[in-house]
Symmetry: D4
Amino acid sequence: MTGFTDLGYARVDTDRESRQGLPEVVYAPGKQPAEIAGIVAELLARGTGPVLVTRVEADVAAEIAVPGGTYHETARLLVWRPAAAGAFRVCIATAGTSDWPVAAEAEAVAAAIGLSTEVVRDVGVAGIHRLLAARGELDRADAVIVVAGMEGALASAVGGLVACPVIAVPTSTGYGAALEGVTALLAMLTSCAAGLTVVNIDSGFGAAMAAHRLAQVVAKPR
Amino acid sequence: MTGFTDLGYARVDTDRESRQGLPEVVYAPGKQPAEIAGIVAELLARGTGPVLVTRVEADVAAEIAVPGGTYHETARLLVWRPAAAGAFRVCIATAGTSDWPVAAEAEAVAAAIGLSTEVVRDVGVAGIHRLLAARGELDRADAVIVVAGMEGALASAVGGLVACPVIAVPTSTGYGAALEGVTALLAMLTSCAAGLTVVNIDSGFGAAMAAHRLAQVVAKPR
Amino acid sequence: MTGFTDLGYARVDTDRESRQGLPEVVYAPGKQPAEIAGIVAELLARGTGPVLVTRVEADVAAEIAVPGGTYHETARLLVWRPAAAGAFRVCIATAGTSDWPVAAEAEAVAAAIGLSTEVVRDVGVAGIHRLLAARGELDRADAVIVVAGMEGALASAVGGLVACPVIAVPTSTGYGAALEGVTALLAMLTSCAAGLTVVNIDSGFGAAMAAHRLAQVVAKPR
Amino acid sequence: MTGFTDLGYARVDTDRESRQGLPEVVYAPGKQPAEIAGIVAELLARGTGPVLVTRVEADVAAEIAVPGGTYHETARLLVWRPAAAGAFRVCIATAGTSDWPVAAEAEAVAAAIGLSTEVVRDVGVAGIHRLLAARGELDRADAVIVVAGMEGALASAVGGLVACPVIAVPTSTGYGAALEGVTALLAMLTSCAAGLTVVNIDSGFGAAMAAHRLAQVVAKPR
Amino acid sequence: MTGFTDLGYARVDTDRESRQGLPEVVYAPGKQPAEIAGIVAELLARGTGPVLVTRVEADVAAEIAVPGGTYHETARLLVWRPAAAGAFRVCIATAGTSDWPVAAEAEAVAAAIGLSTEVVRDVGVAGIHRLLAARGELDRADAVIVVAGMEGALASAVGGLVACPVIAVPTSTGYGAALEGVTALLAMLTSCAAGLTVVNIDSGFGAAMAAHRLAQVVAKPR
Amino acid sequence: MTGFTDLGYARVDTDRESRQGLPEVVYAPGKQPAEIAGIVAELLARGTGPVLVTRVEADVAAEIAVPGGTYHETARLLVWRPAAAGAFRVCIATAGTSDWPVAAEAEAVAAAIGLSTEVVRDVGVAGIHRLLAARGELDRADAVIVVAGMEGALASAVGGLVACPVIAVPTSTGYGAALEGVTALLAMLTSCAAGLTVVNIDSGFGAAMAAHRLAQVVAKPR
Amino acid sequence: MTGFTDLGYARVDTDRESRQGLPEVVYAPGKQPAEIAGIVAELLARGTGPVLVTRVEADVAAEIAVPGGTYHETARLLVWRPAAAGAFRVCIATAGTSDWPVAAEAEAVAAAIGLSTEVVRDVGVAGIHRLLAARGELDRADAVIVVAGMEGALASAVGGLVACPVIAVPTSTGYGAALEGVTALLAMLTSCAAGLTVVNIDSGFGAAMAAHRLAQVVAKPR
Amino acid sequence: MTGFTDLGYARVDTDRESRQGLPEVVYAPGKQPAEIAGIVAELLARGTGPVLVTRVEADVAAEIAVPGGTYHETARLLVWRPAAAGAFRVCIATAGTSDWPVAAEAEAVAAAIGLSTEVVRDVGVAGIHRLLAARGELDRADAVIVVAGMEGALASAVGGLVACPVIAVPTSTGYGAALEGVTALLAMLTSCAAGLTVVNIDSGFGAAMAAHRLAQVVAKPR
């Protein structure tokens, strides 16, 4: 038993579900619809967990002929066999309305893999009272995913308020010196609030997967 | 009640221990020894938890006249009132021997704030069997802190093996195209292993604090 | 009348005081002590306003033999003929104690050129209540100079609170992804709070001079 | 009273007009026309000042069905309830004709929020006599907004001529080593003329808002 | 005899085949179809080896009216007079399915110039067992071309396993901090596995040509 | 007499021809066709020298209704009243065929402003004998403009061969690590051949204008 | 059998000699002399091949008390049990005298691991006849290591002349736009000469190890 | 006749004087004093022109035992057999006093190789009248070398005033966003004044050598 299936165009890691609690997730860019469909079918056949395709545009999604999938347009996500919502609560906070597509990916992925989600939108620090008014949502979360572009200051503000893990997602919102999200990325990495962690620019997916790792350790019998 | 003490040269956040489970940690660079001593004394007086000063060189540490502190030389860390080791287990893995000072900071901070730590050194991917031989240590951890410079590939390898949270710490080990740690940082952020999170270059401290946030959510009564 | 004096090694702009309300300020790096002394003497002889030398180390300052100067060590500033404190009030806020040397330059320059100054230290967003407690100082200011390194989020928080001009000074405080102040610089330029302006990294001098321009327009008879 | 309205997709900061003298300004990119319309309607209902939408393309503007708005095409700006022109005079100077769209945004925003504006176009330093001929416009201004791409040298030249605040706006005009405006940005930040301040690349909006902060402090009763 | 033919728009290096064992290869971007055709015809007339055009899109390829050419669509390669497969064996390994177009160029060029090729797809380190299962292919290769984007960690893993030359090709697969392939490039250059060499981003062509140089030295009579 | 004409949208520098020997040259991007036409008409009316518009696409050129102009398509140049060819000889050498559009601009501009031009194409260092065969053209030139992308090594090779001024023009030819011409730019600036000078990426125009300055000093009566 | 020895501070990869033909090489920076000595002793005990320590300064080398080592000062290399010179011939060419320390490392490592070496110094392209005079040395090599800083053009020139593998080593020689070797690195990666490969900046070691991989494939029985 | 002398550590290009009108110039960094002395002696023996060593610190210069040399301390230049001042006039203009060391190198090299030099110091654009007062010096020059750090705006101002060649030398004067001279370099490359050329950061030497090429073409019989 090798732990993978060789489809020629892909080596599907069929061992990942037992190893990490979730099947491999398919990254769509650069793959043909037929290739995506083949991988999805294999993952559905070999495992029992949720099967996801990320960064898939609507027209590509329409060509992936595997029954039972649901497409989330803003999140650009395809899901088969979503998990039921579990006990781990993730709060997803955005700095501005323009950050929503990235947050939508975080939310849709998190929901699909069995996390309970709550969204707090548009609480950027330019009007800090909006964030302070969301203390309830923040305090009841097991982890907070902060989604912010431009200077990304929301991550520091949230990091200073809550005790739980904070996963910062820089977005490419903004222009000029925002450098396509690099500025928010660097700012989040150098936050004056201790213990924040950061994922790649615009990676709502990465943040949700990081939360899944947290949920697994919380759920581990002790 | 303001939640801080104004020492003139610093506003000590005396509210942080109740808010986040740990007193404020003092970052030494740019502060006078007397200022550090004053802040430490205030934190000791106003709270009950461990008090830490990070990035403090030996000669500066020697000038900080607050009784009861312990200095960790490789970690450049001063600690008062360290916490007892708790149930949360952190495994700290380094790619090479040269990454040890950063890992030492992660280890010393983690221990001081009450995490149980285990270290696996020198398991870089150039000899992948060394990492595979450490599966035991990795599998019993609640979180893994991966400390690696140069190309930082260890983070991806570990991320693909374990189910628990992985906190990647890029180090400035290396030369030329290593760009003082920026290459490892970028590489870790774009890891093909899903759900990794990353902290600042050489920030063993940041990784330990991120682990502390995890430990708190694990310890939360449910 | 040419409007300058040619000292051979420098063309002293003797017209600047009438043109801009302040004599030329001398930037010390790369100049010999005797050259600095010569320029200072010329400026004192040709005008009536305060004469300043910036970024001058203590040992160099000691060699500049022009009577009547005062040296500000932390600010690395030499001043002759300081102006009396005027009606324009500048509040200088720092994110952390480590930002103090840059703020000290802003404060000392501002005071020397006739602005009234007030300092609020260590109000970084990791403990946002410390900033909110400084509303009084912020509200009575005619302009706020925000001095912050790392991710520089304090500028956005202040920018969202006050109505007056905010001049953001990024500092080189921090390490790794802080990139010697470039991260704070980029973050401040892309702040979600509208109407902030930014000066060069570590340029407390630049911020004070920008405030002086504000003071002049406020003082203009209408 | 929370100081904001939660529209689901946005938390409208209804407190900003009283806090900062102007309602929140809507940044269009990444928002749906219906969302923009909803926010505008809320701002109109909750305040009395001018309501602006920036960076809105003509086709999007046409879909925003809130009566009473005026669209400025070159400035890509939508305005409701523009303020009457006040006493504060802003001179907007451009280095070249190609910088006009950014200057147009600065001019249109400034006018909409109640500043008096005057434009001086095409006075780049390659023909310095063109700038010297504009001394009249420069001297009667309360603040000068300098809009320049390529090497941005106009900001230094103006900064050396006038005593009032100079707000430099780098533009993305140019190619190659102009690096999409980064070169002008860096050049303006390191100007040899003291006391200049800088906003984000292509941000005519930011410059106008900075001028509004100036106007408020000038108008403050003393 | 000059060793080149001057076609006006190009100086065709007709000496290269005798000097380096292969005719000049034509880089299509920026050339007119007629120019490409002219150069190809000249190369076919003056030499006996394979003639290649790289980075040529399908529509351009269709306009190049030189008989006998074969177009490889994914590789964007045109070939005349391909060489017979020789004794030198190149294994081309990809980290993910999205890296295939670059690997396809490496494979098609290598085959056209007389190398024996074998492809191992989708063996990224996130599932390291997939790579370990390919030891057979790796061990029988004379050289391995590793094609990987994102963090490029596959190069280090392969470099630690095999004794033969490893040519690393970073790809622009990924987003955000992947920086269009720069991250993979830097990571491969700083690999902890010794003796790796690296070619330009997305340059499957460059890797195949490097392998050709190896094959020539292996084939050299001793 | 002000030395310029204010057209509202532009201040045409009518003094430049007497000051620098050539009328102002119009940079098309960001200008309306009618604006360009207006400036051209003014320049034709106020001076006697050649009038040029650079970087103008064919469709824009077609809309500029000023009689007597000639359009150079590859060079994207419009010319009125071209100068007669003078005694100063410029040799324009390209590394590859793909660099031709930039060289074409250099050639067309140089010809239009009265320089004698000679072109040597496709003499990149990968086949150094092609360059050595062009010694005749190089030796009879008064200045050499080297146009090269990728690593730009041709500039160093030419710089080591000739005694006359060498103006290096980096081009954006290439991909990946070529960084849109930045690599060639940096390489040319750090050439081991002494006394090379460099202009902006893709600026055939800048190189021709630099040659014009040379021609003027050569022509100066002594 | 695990294939490594755990010394506590290091996991020595004792399997590498059988896997890759050479024992692990020790990178000195960041390691204590006693740690280096311990690793060296272990490698000597467990294998039979040459044992090397790289980047070791003279004072550190003096503290490493393992008998039988030889120190190469310019190369900063310590060697035990050097291999006899084999049949594979490496030519090491430098652009300038200032590149010698990096070339010295390449030469010393190559010699220690059993390659025959020949050095050609100071053949930069500013005097191309110096390189052409070295055709003999170049032509009899099995591989050429090109060591060059500044613009690194020598790599392209050599790559165009020889048929064998060319390993380019950028050096940090130069200043300003040389960017500590980054410019040479980028230039070498984008060489117009096909099939060059590149290693890290200043990595004479990496180039020698790459040559060793070549030598192994050449020596493989067929 | 090979055109060079092989000293072992260097291949001295003895052909350069006849090829380019000046012997090879020795770049000191990375060379031993004895090596420098050997090269100098060879150049003196094989040619008749001036022999120069650049970037040589005083202590190194003192060890170079070749009679007849003169050391210029600020310029860090050693000269043997300086040329007599010729007819070609170079004006060297600096923006500030801190740029003097780079200008001093330009001046000393230019003088040593036979150019007539004139220096205009401290004419930065912050006081533009100082530059306008230097019109005489500028107008009688055959070429102007502009030496400026920070934002380098002086190059554009001079470029707009004079008709002759302008060679811009960016310096590393400044801090923060000046990025060690990169900002001035980029700014000079994107100057709005047409026909400027640029050399490497801090390369007074490069500018003087470029002027020498100009002088040679001017002196060419016609």
